[in-house]
Symmetry: C2
Subunit: 143 residues, 2 copies
DNA sequence: TTGCAAATGAGAAACATTATCATTTGTATG
DNA sequence: CATACAAATGATAATGTTTCTCATTTGCAA
């Protein structure tokens, strides 16, 4: 498990506190993991960290605003978070096996900006999910 | 205002009831309107239809499963629905006023297919939401 | 008409999330 | 290294959305 890095919090303008370091550490130890607030809360308790659920929600929102985490609004009504790896990406989700693959396409990105600008919008953010069938024989995950 | 068409419900395997006809009629009378369950409920009451909120939620979910409506999970935590017009489009959502605008961009569509094909996926479906600030002065809604 | 399964509506319950506020903690300062 | 003070925390209440329960009503087929 990686050590938490207080500088990351400082750089984001956030005080380096125990709950924040624990939460950041959790995400850094599971780089590709998508976790809900509830997931994070339970995992911290399992790790022996005594944290409040309200704090988890607060910190996740702060981390999102600071750019440390990315929030996704999947179906199911709850937000999930993943570590912000620095570069924006979209997702392809395999409908057969549930596997999620990340991608980035500059043409799509620029067309989006153009479309929005033409309609009088200033793009703040976007989410693109492609739902597809993975054509590979060896689907690595089960649904 | 269009008359509701009981055959649509029959074809979907749903009994033709008063609340269902009223809800379908409401969506058909506002083709491009994105409405939450709360929106639908309030509108029906305003129209003088005495309906229960639980029924609205039930019927919206049934209509979605029957393919009459499309559900969207925008940021903000609540589902919104629109009439299934048959033809695909994406959405720009104004973060200031909640206004939703539809668009279709052939370049984005084809790039998506290309990206997926390159990675060994057969596209089944996708959802693209652009979250932006509406630059217009007269935002018609409040958050 | 009549019977009965299906649908409805009112309210309770289940969730996820946010707000409140007394207590604790991190950190800058002396 | 002690201290003060703003910021952060955690327990709990509150909010908002959606689902569940169940007694009553309704659509439809015989």
């Amino acid at each position: 498990m990686d050590k938490p890095k207080p500088e990351h919090l400082k750089n984001a303008g956030l005080k380096s506190t125990v709950p924040r370091l624990n939460i950041l550490s959790l995400f850094e130890s599971r780089q590709e993991c998508h976790m809900s607030a509830e997931d994070v809360y339970k995992q911290l308790l399992a790790n022996g960290d005594d944290v409040g659920l309200a704090t988890v929600y607060r910190v996740l929102t702060q981390f999102e605003q600071a750019g440390l985490l990315v929030r996704h609004n999947f179906e199911g009504g709850k937000s999930v978070f993943e570590l912000n790896q620095g570069k924006h990406h979209d997702h392809i989700v395999c409908l057969q096996c549930g596997h999620v693959e990340e991608f980035y396409d500059a043409a799509i990105e620029s067309r989006q900006k153009k479309v929005a600008a033409e309609r009088g919008f200033a793009v703040h953010d976007h989410s693109l999910y492609i739902y597809a069938d993975c054509l590979k024989k060896n689907c690595p995950h089960k649904r």
